[in-house]
């Protein structure tokens, strides 16, 4: 049985999310030393009750980009400008992903099997 890193609502992840098979995705991380916190959703971090009207399932996912340039574009925002772009190769054991926004943006529902060493 899949063990999700975060507690997920019912019917989450969505059925049409797919298991990655070695694709490289990009995410912004703080500093050079990676921690698990770099790969947690905002819901996990702040435990807000509701967040606008964003799907409860999506807010419990981690944002990743398939296109490096799209991830780098986020560095233009002041709150991200000191972060670094990291490439991560995701495997089936790491969870499931779904394209959720503009073509390159994906939501990633992480399992407890994801290991930082794979980066």
């Amino acid at each position: 049985m899949t063990e999700w890193f975060e507690e997920l609502p019912e019917q989450c992840p969505p059925k049409d999310a797919f298991s990655p098979s070695g694709q490289t995705f990009y995410r912004l991380v703080n500093g050079q030393t990676l921690t698990s916190d770099d790969f947690t959703s905002q819901q996990e971090e702040f435990s807000w009750k509701e967040f606008l009207k964003v799907d409860k399932c999506i807010i419990r996912a981690v944002s990743i980009f398939l296109d490096k340039a799209d991830c780098e574009k986020m560095l233009k925002f002041q709150r991200h400008k000191h972060k670094n772009v990291y490439a991560l190769t995701l495997l089936e054991k790491d969870g499931v992903v779904k394209q959720t926004f503009k073509p390159s943006h994906h939501s990633w529902w992480r399992t407890t099997n994801f290991e930082l060493e794979v980066i």
Binding site: K15, D16, F46, K49, L52, I59, T100, F101, K102
Partner: protein, 380 residues
């Protein structure tokens, strides 16, 4: 001074909405930027933005920094999000604070090169917009009303059927609840020159990322109007629409060929990065029409019905079956031979038949006909 805002569309998302559009009670658009996140909640700063400027921002013609440095009205509203409602408070700041200004060069999209006002219409309608331009050999920005009526009706049917195919292809959950007219019907709201160009908008369901349900259909239409390098690629594309969608497309092709018409199909939706545009002229129509004539099965919609026959008339070649799932009755035609030996009322059959939709004039409803193909006895 307070404003109650409603989130309309998220433009940039990274773990949470970074940049979004909200509207107030009188439908004025506000562009809202996430400033920082503290332990309690994220805080945003927003300012009003006109539809014209917003469409320029979406088209990649102005950058975010410029939108914030030179607001159209120098009124700023700040808010935190700690529940579903946004209550924005007017702040006394004179300018957007430098420490939160995004760096230079943040364009929402690569520049969208399109001279029409379709992006602005999408902003105004907050949903997908289609421009359907029709011209004939006169090419004088006018069109025969019969041709206009026929093309619009056939296009409408094709969009409906393409939408249904799109839902299946994308494995959308709870499909039945989504197959409602608002998700595939369009409304005409304007016309312009450049052939006779009718502007249509959708009122389909839309999520916060700007994805409109009607796009499932528009993307399929875009797909079959694409130029393919080989006939095989085109056939594969048509296969994904097999059935009613291809059947209605074939009728459009025939209309274009019979009346020497040209069709231009342009569409845009809030989540799109480009304006989609395809032309269907007689040359292209003939090529696709010939392929469809060689692959009749592409236009065939096969339907499986499981239930009991309540009537089977061998002499007239007619039948009625009541399905087990929803207790609905379907009736159709068959040969006498096919109906011979059918047991009524007590035996469950799986009937495979061809579903044919006959479209009538614009205002009339379509008639569905079922042609018997095969039957298997399931139980007694």
């Amino acid at each position: 001074m307070q404003k109650k805002l409603n989130i309309s569309q998220i433009l940039v998302y990274y773990d949470m909405p970074e940049l979004f559009i909200a509207t107030d009670e009188v439908d004025t658009n506000y562009i809202c930027l996430l400033l920082e996140v503290d332990e309690n909640s994220p805080s945003y700063l927003s300012t009003a933005i006109s539809a014209n400027r917003l469409s320029k921002f979406i088209k990649g013609q102005i950058e975010l920094r410029q939108v914030l440095i030179e607001p159209e009205i120098n009124d700023w509203y700040s808010f935190n999000i700690d529940n579903e409602n946004i209550i924005a408070e007017r702040t006394d700041i004179q300018n957007f604070p430098e420490i939160f200004l995004p760096e230079q060069g943040f364009y929402l999209n690569n520049e969208i090169l399109d001279n029409s006002n379709i992006v602005q219409e999408v902003v105004q309608k907050d949903n997908a917009v289609v421009h359907l331009a029709i011209s004939d050999d006169k090419d004088d920005f006018s069109i025969d009303t019969d041709d206009l009526g026929d093309i619009v009706k056939l296009y409408s049917v094709m969009l409906e059927n393409s939408f249904k195919k799109g839902l299946i292809e994308h494995k959308v959950k709870e499909k039945k609840a989504l197959i409602v007219p608002m998700n595939y019907k369009l409304r005409a709201f304007a016309a312009s020159r450049a052939s006779f160009n009718i502007h249509l908008y959708s009122k389909s369901q839309k999520d916060l990322f700007g994805n409109c349900m009607v796009e499932y259909g528009l993307e399929k239409i875009e797909q079959i109007l694409t130029e393919y390098a080989s006939d095989e690629e085109l056939i594969n594309s048509l296969k994904s629409l097999k059935g009613h969608a291809v059947s209605s497309f074939k009728k459009i092709l025939k209309k274009i060929l019979d009346e020497n018409l040209k069709l231009k199909h342009k569409w845009f939706a809030p989540n799109q990065k480009e304006v989609h545009f395809k032309v269907l002229d007689t040359f292209k129509a003939q090529k696709i029409y010939d392929i469809l004539n060689l692959s009749e099965e592409l236009t065939e919609e096969v339907k499986e019905l499981t239930g009991v026959f309540v009537q089977a008339d061998v002499e007239r070649g007619t039948w009625r079956i009541k399905t087990n799932d929803d207790d609905k009755e379907f009736s159709g035609e068959a040969t006498s031979e096919e109906l011979r030996g059918i047991t009524l009322d007590t035996v469950t059959y799986k009937l495979v038949c061809q579903e044919i939709i006959e479209e009538f004039k614009v205002t009339e409803k379509e008639k569905v006909k079922y042609i018997f193909k095969s039957v298997i006895k399931l139980d007694e």
